[in-house]
Symmetry: C2
Subunit: 335 residues, 2 copies
């Protein structure tokens, strides 16, 4: 099943890109070059790439949230840029921490420019995010961003911790993914509503929308990490199993009371790198425990909760449709 | 020559420590443990260490700057804590980037807890610094901090860049050290003055004081990196030459018009790791070019400029004496 980004979301990209470019333009040239490459704007030689750039899902969420509360998207731009910068700060550091050599079918920054450059580029984007939002002059918005960054770091820290632990519970794994992914998506929607001038209840409802959407997004990501084909995801097939990552479906499978779970736990206890046969067997075992079906169902529940949160805000029809499409994209995407 | 930290500076530590502990206490337990170790509060097993902790030079500067403009030190505490957190964020990431295995005679965080933990701990401290200062509610202060962080990252980026370049000018090397070190010390003093309620001219004069003091501090650090004994600096002897670091004295030596410089350039062009004999020869060559004497003189000039900037503020006698002692400590220290 392939899903493309809805038109309204693409429309927000036309606003976000120049604002993001303006922010990145304030970095010194060497850093700008690295960041431009990471963001897909330029190739390895620093030359412009046609149609480069990521999905920009978080900025779209911020701008649509502003419109959902009846504002124009423009006031939400600093929020949109800030969350995209934070997202990319975390990708740059994540790739170093996980030792990932490819992202979006290209060498990762640390692989191409070295680990120090990737660490510094991440640091620069985090600082830039704070600066961009600070310039909007809304202290609640600034606090919202730093709280989300804090949760993000906590989530990544828990993720690392899980690697070294024999058992991880499904609930704590969901909490980890809430920190790692959903918090920044909640923040994106909250920032849009805040900068759009909305009051507490609407900000909070849109935050709920973003958080549930983020959880749905992450669970789909987890499923793609087990099932996704490398030609579309840009990651090696069965990538998460290969490194014995403890994502939600894996944790659900490991903790299920089945014979398949027992065999899977055996694979997770081993020290050596799993062979191709091992990895395929592990995928089959996860499937047999029913964990994939359970995760798909859980993702749909998060999406339903997101839709319910949105209904409370009662956005204009066009924006409601765009957010509904965005939601569909999140669960139906294959990359 | 050994210099100890002046009493007034130690007195500021009594105020800063609990505030710093309160800030760190808001981190989640796993992160708190890593940060506590890094700050010297606990040992490798997480047990409290008597009299641990670094020099806390930057917080002292912030609190003394507030007192220099006639305020109490307490309002400057968020600034003092924020600069110390930023300083430690940069140390954590620096140790990863430089591959340094020891700091203050103990294994570095990446060495003990792994690179991912060190990267995340640095990210957490940077975020915490922004949060702590944001809570003080002074937007000029918040901007001052993010600008300093930006300069710090630019300085570190230039430092990395220099490693790969055949020639580096003395002026651009001084600019790099201004970014890497002096900007945060300027920021510490500015934050103290700002949070102490001072007006523009006093903030700016104290910023000048901090910047010049920071440059003096860094040049002394560069000299210690060439001359310092490992038992006091906690770094291997001739550490900077061993890794062919392009610090100011080295750059001054390399660019001098002497026979020693030509031989030194030859050492810097080589690919292989220098032998013990090589490193000692390199140190002798740097000395022979007159670069060490030049750097010492330059450091003294920065200190004189710092003193002149301070005179313009006309601080109370006790605070003036404390800042003078702090200044003396910076240039006379041997670690």
């Amino acid at each position: 099943m392939t899903a493309t980004m809805p038109t309204e979301v693409s429309a927000t990209q036309a606003l976000v890109r120049p604002a993001l470019r303006d922010a990145v333009a304030t970095l010194e040239p060497a850093m700008r070059r690295i960041v431009g490459y990471h963001l897909g704007w330029t190739d390895e030689r620093g030359e412009a790439v046609e149609g480069g750039g990521g999905k920009a899902l978080r900025p779209a969420l911020a701008l649509l949230a502003a419109q959902a509360v009846g504002a124009r998207p423009e006031p939400a731009l600093p929020g949109a840029v800030a969350v995209e910068l934070v997202h990319n700060f975390s990708l740059l550091h994540d790739d170093v921490m996980d030792g990932d050599t490819e992202r979006r079918h290209r060498p990762t920054v640390w692989r191409l420019f070295g680990t120090p450059a990737a660490i510094l580029a991440g640091d620069a984007l985090l600082t830039l995010a704070v600066e961009v939002l600070d310039a909007a002059g809304d202290r609640t918005a600034s606090r919202c961003l730093t709280t989300a960054v804090r949760r993000l770091i906590e989530g990544q820290s828990a993720d690392l911790d899980f690697e070294h632990r024999a058992t991880v519970g499904v609930e704590e794994c969901l909490r980890m993914e809430d920190g790692k992914t959903a918090s920044l998506m909640a923040c994106a929607a909250e920032l849009g509503a805040l900068l759009g001038g909305a009051g507490g209840p609407a900000v909070s409802a849109l935050g709920d929308f973003g958080r549930n959407l983020g959880m749905g997004f992450q669970l789909v990501d987890d499923l793609l990490g087990i099932l996704g084909a490398p030609e579309v995801t840009g990651k090696p097939v069965l990538a998460d199993l290969r490194v014995r990552k403890k994502s939600v479906p894996v944790v659900a499978a490991l903790s299920s009371d089945t014979g398949s779970a027992a065999e899977l736990r055996e694979f997770y206890r081993r020290e050596q790198v799993p062979s191709e046969t091992d990895v395929r067997r592990m995928a089959a075992l996860v499937e047999q425990t029913g964990a994939l079906t359970w995760t798909r169902r859980r993702a749909r529940r998060y999406v339903a909760d997101a839709e319910a949160a949105l209904a409370a805000v009662d956005p204009p029809a066009g924006i409601r449709a765009a957010l509904a499409e965005l939601t569909r994209f999140v669960v139906e995407r294959d990359r």
